[in-house]
Symmetry: C2
Subunit: 242 residues, 2 copies
């Protein structure tokens, strides 16, 4: 039996890993970090290297770039699966570091499915991590939810209609994964009267971090990992009381 | 100028605080923990005491119990606000520990509004924390979101209609704050064909923790801080691939 532990390492700031996450990274025999096609150091890797020695870190290429063609992505996926399967056969505890939370839009979900099929006695565990929307709320002062407000998290890759439906509702809307659709997002916010209170951010916790009012969005493409928070109109706003 | 720092200390497991949260608690002059009406040690206090000496912790009563009458709640609120205002006038950095995340259904939001009114040169900051839904996902193996699925977080205190609307949609639904409405929640899950895949949990990370399939809900009241995850029907389910 081997343990495969998906560890959420947060949005990029190395301090936004939990104590449990740090302990899980340190206790594992090896820590796998996903590396983009080009091989440049990613956020997960940079965060992991704050806590574990480089000698314990295994870099595995995942061709997650949207522009990579399907055949190449599948070949990279199969190679990554085989590499991880080999590590699981060799070691008792393999950690996989993932930005954000391993149960929120994470490659880890698919990876775990693949590995349970390849190495059937694998036990899958996850350690939660701070998501980009939580970090953007902290950085911008945009409260995610108050009182009885619902919150809807929409990956814009699901289509603009899903986003517009959510914006027409009573709660906070968080949009993920909308770099190329920045223009559509801005339009949906304007149509629903929500652009005034919305904020967006990218590269949170990194030197190139940007946190700005959504009203400044001019429709130009944004980084793929952009995050937007559109709170509902709140009576009393910041000056309210219980 | 004084800093008021809302620190999310996670759902109850002391290891689920971020490194940044631990550092913020330790760097503050005092750490305020909300204490329930009865004075018993709460989750926030128990977690804080893992990281800072008791001498730096200030216990402030918040009458948040649903059954406390309105006048008593308001009196407790005003007293708590005055107490915190006094601490802010006296110290440069006051941390307030809140379970979960300070920007997700937290008393901290209202408290910060009250304090900015009482002590106008207060600077409000927040440090994100792991939410109960993230911990329940990790404990139960219920993935929160995959691919293009939206996620809706519904406080059942908003009414059963909001919950049913969300369950009729395409994404994962997370229900919060539904102890007394457990029967309505179970009924809504059955009506929408979602009960088979749903899980609920309470007292996560505590000795009395309970994580069970929602199908076992018999309609009896549950603890107020119960959490439920109802994932959408997923093609291929756990055995799928990218």
């Amino acid at each position: 039996m081997s343990r495969l532990i998906g560890v959420g390492v947060g949005p990029g700031d190395p301090e936004l890993v939990t104590v449990k996450g740090v302990n899980a990274l340190r206790a594992a025999d090896v820590v796998v970090v996903p590396v983009m096609d080009g091989g440049e150091r990613g956020r997960a890797e940079a965060t992991v290297l704050h806590y574990v020695p480089a000698g314990k870190v295994v870099r595995v290429v995942f061709a997650l770039n949207e522009r990579t063609d399907r055949a190449r992505r599948e070949a990279a996926w199969d190679a990554a699966g085989e590499r991880l399967a080999g590590l699981l056969r060799e070691h008792g505890a393999v950690a996989f570091a993932t930005i954000g939370d391993p149960n929120v839009y994470s490659t880890f979900t698919y990876l775990a499915q693949t590995l349970v099929a390849l190495v059937p006695d694998t036990v899958v565990e996850t350690v939660p991590g701070i998501t980009a929307m939580q970090e953007l709320a902290a950085r911008s002062g945009a409260v995610l939810t108050e009182g009885t407000e619902p919150l809807t998290l929409v990956p814009v890759t699901a289509g603009a209609a899903v986003l517009k439906d959510a914006l027409a509702g009573p709660g906070t809307v968080v949009a993920y994964k909308f770099g190329r659709q920045a223009g559509e997002v801005a339009e949906a916010l304007r149509e629903t009267g929500r652009i005034g209170d919305a904020v967006w951010g990218s590269a949170l916790g990194l030197p190139e971090e940007s946190v700005r009012p959504a009203a400044e969005l001019d429709g130009a493409p944004l980084p793929y990992l952009s995050t937007l928070i559109a709170p509902p109109r709140r009576d009393g706003g910041r000056g309210g009381k219980l």
